[in-house]
């Protein structure tokens, strides 16, 4: 009897917490037309622009308490493009993204905290690429309006952390990434 009473109280508390967070965090939907993910790969002789055409974003936002928010990005690697057709061909192969074997790149936030300045935020999470998960911190700026949230992240990653080491020494290990997400409220 005593045990049943405890279970009942625990269920009530859990339900209240779940309902509470559901109310506080708002589900946002991606505006695919206005969102983009691009990257710049560099080498001593020059650089190339590229990006991904297809991706999904699942976002929950609590505008009062950032730590209650979450962000998940799923990129379709086969949608990769670049400013050179032959380079696109090469990037899709096992030297780089191996899109047949690893069709997705995933980022899942584990912690979201306020950034250094106004209208900035830091997404800390796991980025899974080439079947390897690495923790990354993505700094981003945001613009909030009544109808949407615009996130702009401009950062660099070390591709070799995911085992993408082809051309090391000839092609820069650091790749600049710019992601712009317009999320409708």
């Amino acid at each position: 009897m005593h045990h049943r009473f405890h279970t009942f109280i625990a269920t009530l508390i859990l339900g209240a917490v779940l309902c509470g967070s559901a109310v506080a965090a708002e589900k946002l939907t991606l505006d695919k037309e206005k969102s983009k993910i691009t990257f710049v790969g560099s080498k001593p002789e020059g650089k190339h622009d590229g990006g991904f055409k297809t991706f999904e974003v699942s976002a929950m936002a609590d505008f009062d308490q950032a730590e209650n928010s979450s962000l998940e990005i799923m990129i379709d690697t086969a949608s990769l493009w670049s400013d050179d057709e032959k380079l696109t061909n090469h990037l899709k192969n096992p030297d780089f993204f191996d899109v047949r074997k690893y069709p997705k790149i995933q980022f899942k936030s584990t912690k979201i905290e306020a950034g250094g300045g106004d209208s900035t935020v830091k997404f800390i999470g796991k980025m899974k690429m080439l079947d390897k998960e690495v923790e990354v911190t993505i700094p981003a700026s945001f613009e909030l309006s009544d109808t949407s949230l615009k996130l702009v992240a401009d950062f660099k990653i070390d591709r070799t952390k995911w085992g993408m080491s082809y051309g090391e020494g000839k092609i820069d290990n650091m790749v600049a990434i710019k992601a712009t997400f317009v999320l409708n409220r």
Binding site: K92, V99, R100, Y166, G167
Partner: protein, 317 residues
């Protein structure tokens, strides 16, 4: 060129091949170092040593650059085993002229004199060379193409490419052997070398790892081709068997790893380039050696230039 590529894909395979060629020469020669051994098995053994050396040489870039284990993850790397098998079988069963040069044997055949093997076992091996090689080549065709969930959309290509790999591999190997046995054993490896050019260019347009491997095969074959030119009766021509199957397997892999739509005729040209060059060499068999070699070289250069133009330059602004 990057130092690591130079080391693992050029120098490494070259050195391994030279060691194998010297060892094979030592086996094939008599104890006094004069002429070739009278032992009928010395030729086949030397040929197998050359093929094993060639296979070890092309394993160098895989080990050094791709960090492969004994059974690699990628299909194009796994194919190293069946290529070795088919190469060893064809080389073991090929007619070898251990007691006289290929040129002499060619002259004997042109006079209608059979080049007998001198041993019932060798006779059996010679007779069934293409049957055994054909069976083994099925494994090359089976493993040359990638499979798995991500490749489902390209599954309909598999049957056609299996036929292409097995058929073109056997035809190329057979016709190059005819060139070797018709007095071209010292320079036939240059035809095999030309055959590796197309797949290397195809791979270089899409997949660096595969291209580095092809470069390793080119370095290995080049070293043996030079060795065969310098040292008469070296038996190095046996490397044409694994080289022929390597070329077709690499073409198939290159096709699957490119996202560009190249025309069918281009793939046919890449696959059958050794046959085209060998036909020229055989058709000019009655001419002077220099005429035969120059015409073959010009044919190979012309075909390779066409392939390179279509793969690298055509369609670009």
């Amino acid at each position: 060129m990057e130092t690591a590529i130079l080391l693992w894909s050029v120098a490494g395979p070259g050195v391994v091949c030279i060691c194998a060629a010297v060892l094979a020469l030592w086996v094939a020669r008599d104890q006094n170092g004069r002429g070739t051994s009278e032992d009928r098995w010395a030729g086949p053994l030397a040929a197998v040593l050359v093929v094993c050396g060639w296979m070890a040489a092309i394993a160098v870039p895989l080990i050094g650059r791709q960090k492969i284990s004994w059974w690699p993850a990628e299909a194009w790397q796994q194919v190293v085993w069946p290529i070795g098998l088919v190469g060893v079988l064809l080389a073991l069963c090929a007619p070898h002229h251990t007691a006289r040069s290929g040129e002499e044997a060619g002259r004997e055949r042109s006079r209608g004199e059979p080049a007998g093997p001198g041993s019932p076992t060798l006779a059996w091996l010679h007779r069934d060379q293409w049957f055994l090689g054909g069976l083994a080549s099925l494994l090359v065709g089976m493993l040359a193409m990638p499979t798995g969930d991500g490749w489902g959309d390209l599954l309909p290509w598999h049957r056609g490419w299996l036929v292409a790999v097995v058929g073109c591999g056997l035809v190329n190997a057979w016709i190059m052997q005819q060139v070797a046995l018709s007095g071209g054993e010292r320079w036939v490896l240059w035809i095999a070398l030309a055959g590796l050019g197309g797949p290397t260019i195809l791979a270089a347009t899409a997949y660096g790892g595969l291209a580095e491997w092809c470069l390793g095969a080119i370095a290995a074959t080049l070293m043996l081709a030079i060795f065969a030119l310098i040292v008469p009766r070296s038996g190095c021509w046996s490397a044409l068997f694994p080289a022929a199957f390597f070329a077709v397997a690499a073409t198939a892999s290159g096709r699957f790893y490119t996202y560009e739509d190249h025309p069918l005729w281009l793939y046919c040209l890449i696959l059958l380039l050794p046959t085209g060059v060998s036909l020229v060499a055989l058709l000019l068999g009655g001419q002077r050696l220099a005429t035969q070699v120059v015409a073959s070289a010009l044919t190979a250069a012309g075909l390779l230039a066409g392939i390179a133009y279509r793969l690298l330059l055509a369609g670009q602004e």
